[in-house]
């Protein structure tokens, strides 16, 4: 497996102020990384630094040449004043491969329609994005992310605004897209159960307590970390995809 992204000697932060020093990480093809931490812990800052949307305070983020990101931002960041259709929204995901001043080709349109079908919202294509339910909006954003045929799917709190059923559907879709396309996934969440159920690698982050741990899921989700990080008195007996934490004591 090749390294898609490497974090080296990285310190993340805003406006030249360092928030947290990270350990070195390499994200490889086919891996599922979960970034886990409480609200305001620096998850989104880390994610935006990895995406080069904000510069690191120290160190560097290197990515393989021409790595294509499929990005699912937080739903509430979009201004509801825009009357764009689902098709127009999903088309934007394809713009990673269509430079400024160029129009979408017939081939691009086929990929967009295929993406809509993959997430089960082809029938909503002409609907206004702002009129959709929370779950439908997340599916649309997922379709947008895969329309660019990405190497890495990046999800920022994809299940924050949906109910349990919606969360299960979204995560099941993410899982099937990953399996089908073999892409890497990087997901931010503050839900321990979601991250532990789907990730194979985890980053624990909390800038206020200067915590940054990254590695294999079994290595990171140990009793000591869960106690220190979440204040939970837990024994980890077994970790698998169905049930991350087998027994509470």
């Amino acid at each position: 497996m090749s390294n898609l992204i490497k974090l080296e000697n990285l310190t993340i932060g805003y406006e030249k102020k360092g928030l947290l020093r990270t350990t070195d990480i390499a994200i490889e093809n086919g891996q599922f990384w979960g970034i886990l931490g409480p609200n305001g812990s620096g998850k989104s800052t880390l994610l935006k630094t990895i995406l080069s949307l904000i510069p690191p305070i120290e160190g560097k983020v290197t990515s393989e040449n021409a790595v294509v990101f499929g990005y699912v931002p937080q739903n509430e960041k979009f201004d509801q004043i825009f009357p764009i259709s689902v098709f127009e929204l999903v088309s934007m995901g394809r713009y990673s491969r269509v430079p400024p001043g160029k129009k979408l080709s017939t081939g691009d349109r086929d990929v967009i329609e295929e993406s809509l079908k993959k997430v089960g919202i082809a029938h909503l294509s002409e609907r206004s994005f702002r009129s959709l339910s929370g779950g439908e909006k997340q599916r649309s954003l997922l379709a947008r992310a895969i329309a660019g045929e990405p190497d890495i799917l990046v999800l920022d709190e994809p299940t924050a605004a949906v109910d349990i059923k919606g969360e299960a559907q979204i995560m099941s879709l993410v899982k099937s897209i990953k399996q089908e396309s073999g892409l890497a996934v990087l997901m931010v969440s503050h839900f321990l159960n979601t991250i532990s159920a789907f990730s194979d690698h985890i980053i624990l982050i909390d800038k206020d307590n200067d915590i940054f741990q990254a590695g294999d899921k079994a290595e990171i989700l140990n009793s000591e970390n869960l106690n220190k990080f979440f204040g939970l008195n837990l024994d980890i007996e077994r970790i698998n995809e169905i049930q991350a934490i087998e027994r509470l004591t």
């Binding site: 009357p83 934007m92 400024p100 001043g101 009129s131």
Partner: protein, 282 residues
């Protein structure tokens, strides 16, 4: 009051202002969609005032330069220059040392508004033109505007046709656009410069008040009557044209100030759209 027959017979009087009004209404209506969707209505208000200030400043400098540099202070060029500089400033500057962006826009608006009134008070020559620019009371237009404004409108429409997807993308989701390596700052500046150029050329012909109205109200009305973005642009252009031409028509037959008449027509379309929306909801 002039009758409709008299209006038709006065074709030679209103042909040019109608052409200018229709072109200005179309292009302001189109760009107004971006102004409203990006929530920068007060940027357009500040730009119209800065454009007016440019014209006033040119008259002032001309009056006090003893005629030596008179040709350097062309009101159109100075207005265009200042408006474009302001647009670039608004597009690029993000950190205003603890003053909010809205605060800086209000600062630009108030500074330009105050300065143009002071300048108008200090000079006698051109005072009438300054009043026209502020309130749009000009019944006739400069013959050059009959060519300049439709030509500017055409160029702006061509630029926006080419970069439509990009301007929408950076306006809706600039973060993902940056992730995809789109030149967001350049596109933002380009978009605001097209708005600035249109504001500069149309403010001189129609006045600050109707240009501000045409940049805001047709787009606001269109957003009330359709959920389809492309139709929003089309309706906004049509409402912009109708507001400008009907405004001119009513000002002609009822002897009203032209700019105010155009503004009231645009307001009427907005109220009509609001009524239509309420009817559909009911």
């Amino acid at each position: 009051m002039t009758t409709f027959a008299e209006f038709i017979n006065s074709y030679f009087l209103w042909k040019d202002p109608m052409i200018v009004g229709a072109a200005a209404g179309a292009v302001c209506g189109f760009l107004g969609v971006y102004v409203v969707l990006r929530r920068i209505i007060f940027v357009s208000a500040a730009l119209t005032q800065i454009s007016s200030f440019g014209v006033g400043l040119a008259f002032y400098l001309e009056a006090y330069s003893l005629g030596v540099f008179a040709s350097l202070f062309d009101p159109f060029i100075l207005s265009l220059l200042l408006t474009c500089l302001a647009a670039v400033f608004f597009a690029l500057k993000r950190d205003f040392s603890r003053v909010s962006t809205e605060g800086v826009i209000a600062f630009g608006f108030l500074l330009a508004s105050g300065a143009v009134v002071i300048i108008g008070d200090k000079i006698t020559k051109g005072a009438h033109d300054i009043a026209n620019i502020l309130f749009g009371s000009a019944v006739v237009v400069d013959p050059a505007d009959v060519l300049i404004i439709p030509a500017v409108a055409l160029v702006v429409f061509i630029i926006h046709l080419i970069y439509y997807k990009d301007f929408i993308f950076i306006s809706f989701d600039s973060e993902t656009a940056r992730l995809f390596k789109y030149p967001v700052r350049l596109l933002n500046t380009g978009l605001l410069i097209t708005i600035a150029v249109v504001v500069a050329v149309t403010t001189r012909a129609l006045g600050a008040l109707p240009v501000f109205a045409l940049l805001a109200l047709p787009a606001l009305a269109s957003l009330l009557i359709t959920e389809n973005l492309k139709l929003v642009f089309i309706f906004s252009v049509v409402i912009g044209i109708l507001s400008a031409t009907l405004g001119y028509f009513f000002s002609f037959i009822l002897s009203l100030p032209t700019g105010a008449s155009m503004t009231v027509c645009a307001v009427a379309f907005f109220i009509l759209a609001l009524g239509l929306r309420e009817l559909r909801k009911g």
